[in-house]
């Protein structure tokens, strides 16, 4: 099972410097690369250069230049509003996307200049589509070394830096109601892209969870895996392993298995523990962020503040607030630090936070008034950092557990978790364990 970490922002650099070597690869979003080219390529050179040789790839984010599907109304918006931000002059396309548009090639740049998204009908045009494929693949293969060569400090890395391990064909959201047309266009995109990359071409399939329950459409998706690509990244919109029902999870599992039976690698762009388990059923790997990113909607919800980084509770494979975990101590007979480390977590972070006194566990939820004008307390950066490092260590432990266990052992492990999930303060929000067991037992 390959675990990729998604590099979200440079505030996460410390986590990657300390932990990336334990993971299988790193994903950089192209809009981050364009907004901070020197900083990003210097990291790529450090992580993936001769010393560490960690796999990386650049996510071209081509879907951002596509149409926005409004779930409330079913309308399709083509004004690229979702990549705009408010400026003194009104709303304009974010500078990172303006730069990305220029770097990705003419068709993307034109979309930015005209503030008009790339549409399904655009992609049906062979010349247009070929240009999109050629330029976005060229971008992924050459952009990083191109930036390195211009930087006096890092130019010498350019020749020795390996190419990205994954090249993605341009990808767009397969809109509900137009799935067949989008799948056809995706097939054409793959065919065109293979002219520019035929050794490590992957396709990213972004679709709504409703597609998982449509047998015909699923067959068409699976047919795509018979093309001459190396693998498929799956990104399901509005899909959360924690809350998806048995039908959705079963269907997702079947899709993974079917693609892998066609001899192709298959990855989940946003996954958690359930996806780790699916490595036993064909999933090659998955990615997520540092303490977040186990689910993500393709059509974004705009706005919102910085969420609290809750404690990842290994017993239930989910994040909870500190009070939720502490509330369980009595029922789980966790009376002191030693028992906590034995039953819950003995990672270096938990050992360092608790320091022999269970009362210190609350440091994971430490809060403060962030600014002078703040009225509401938020999590301290130090607490968020502890939680994120713990999350990464817990994830690595889970990976080992899955690698070392057969499915029946994993199910036994989940049944022990299920007992905990039925405690009253967990039961209303922790039905995922029972659902996972049903899906896995149905294998």
């Amino acid at each position: 099972m390959k675990l990729y970490l998604r590099y979200g922002s440079h505030s996460e650099k410390d986590y990657f410097e300390k932990m990336l070597r334990f993971f299988d690869g790193v994903v950089f979003a192209s809009n981050l690369l364009e907004s901070t080219p020197s900083a990003t390529v210097s990291l790529i050179a450090r992580f993936s250069g001769e010393k560490q040789r960690i796999s990386y790839y650049i996510d071209p984010m081509t879907y951002s230049f596509g149409e926005f599907f409004d779930y409330k109304t079913g309308e399709i918006w083509s004004d690229l509003d979702w990549i705009k931000s408010k400026t003194k002059k009104g709303y304009s396309i974010k500078s990172s996307y303006q730069k990305l548009g220029k770097a990705l090639g003419d068709k993307f740049n034109n979309a930015i200049v005209k503030e008009k998204s790339i549409s399904l009908s655009d992609l049906k045009n062979p010349d247009f589509r070929s240009s999109v494929c050629q330029s976005s693949i060229s971008y992924q293969k050459n952009r990083v070394t191109g930036i390195l060569k211009k930087d006096k400090e890092f130019a010498h890395y350019a020749d020795s830096l390996p190419e990205p391990s994954i090249i993605l064909a341009p990808y767009f959201f397969i809109q509900p109601g137009l799935e067949k047309e989008w799948i056809k266009v995706t097939k054409d995109i793959i065919t065109d892209s293979l002219k520019y990359e035929n050794e490590k071409l992957y396709i990213k399939l972004c679709f709504d969870k409703s597609l998982l329950l449509n047998v015909d459409l699923l067959s068409e998706i699976i047919e795509l895996s018979k093309l001459n690509i190396k693998g498929i990244w799956i990104w399901v919109n509005d899909f959360d392993e924690m809350t998806a029902d048995e039908n959705l999870l079963s269907s997702f599992k079947e899709l993974i298995t079917s693609i892998s039976l066609n001899g192709k690698e298959v990855y989940n762009r946003h996954g958690g523990f359930f996806s780790l388990i699916l490595s036993k059923m064909g999933l090659t790997g998955m990615s997520h962020g540092v303490g977040y990113g186990e689910k993500k909607d393709i059509m974004p919800i705009l706005g919102g503040g910085t969420p609290t980084v809750n404690y990842y509770f290994p017993a239930l494979h989910k994040k909870y607030g500190v009070p939720d975990i502490e509330r369980s101590f009595n029922d789980l007979e966790i009376l002191d630090a030693n028992i906590f480390h034995k039953k819950i977590c003995d990672c270096a972070i938990c050992m360092g936070v608790i320091k022999g006194d269970l009362k210190n566990f609350k440091q994971y939820g430490e809060t403060h008034l962030a600014t002078k004008s703040s009225k509401r307390k938020t999590q301290t950066p130090a607490a968020a950092k502890r939680a994120r490092f713990h999350y990464l260590l817990a994830r690595l432990n889970e990976k080992k557990l899955i690698q070392d266990s057969e499915v029946d052992i994993i199910i036994s492990h989940l049944k022990k978790s299920e007992v905990i999930s039925t405690l009253d303060y967990f039961s209303y929000t922790s039905k995922h364990i029972s659902t996972w067991i049903k899906v896995l037992e149905d294998n």
């Binding site: 607030g321 009070p323 502490e326 101590f329 009362k359 809060t367 509401r376 009253d424 209303y428 929000t429």
Partner: protein, 137 residues
């Protein structure tokens, strides 16, 4: 009176709690990322009380109240009285969470008596008492 918002429950609730000797009361008290709707302290009894007010979702209210047992001697859910017939009594009783029914008239009645919290952490209680004493007169 029909209660349209949760905050509409606060006035009758606080009046009721004051009559029960919880003279120091504070609304929306922060407890980690959550906010306890009403937190009170009784100097006479040296007891604290946390109340989660909700209009309909008793399960969510109960879940919050269970967490507030960490920081309060007694933990209650307060809801319009008609919701009482919908709740799972056994869960409340099993965990020692109380239920206060709020009538349209503004009258409140304890329909399930809370038990003293068996998971109380004194360090949380000690942090919250001053808040209710400072602001909640």
């Amino acid at each position: 009176m029909e209660y349209r918002w949760e905050v509409d429950l606060y006035i009758p609730l606080k009046k009721y709690l004051k009559n029960k000797s919880f003279r120091f009361l504070e609304e929306e008290v922060g407890f980690f990322e959550r906010r306890i709707d009403v937190y009170g302290f009784s100097k006479i009894r040296n007891e604290t009380i946390a109340v989660e007010a909700k209009l309909r979702n008793w399960k969510k209210a109960l879940q919050q109240a269970l967490l507030y047992q960490l920081c309060s001697d007694f933990s209650y859910v307060a809801m319009p009285v008609e919701v009482f017939s919908l709740i799972d009594l056994s869960v409340f009783e099993r965990n020692g969470v109380g239920f206060i029914g709020v009538y349209p008239s503004g009258r409140c009645r304890e329909l399930i008596k809370a038990k003293p919290s068996s998971v109380l952490k004194s360090y949380y209680r000690d942090e919250l008492i001053p808040l209710s004493r400072e602001k909640g007169r």
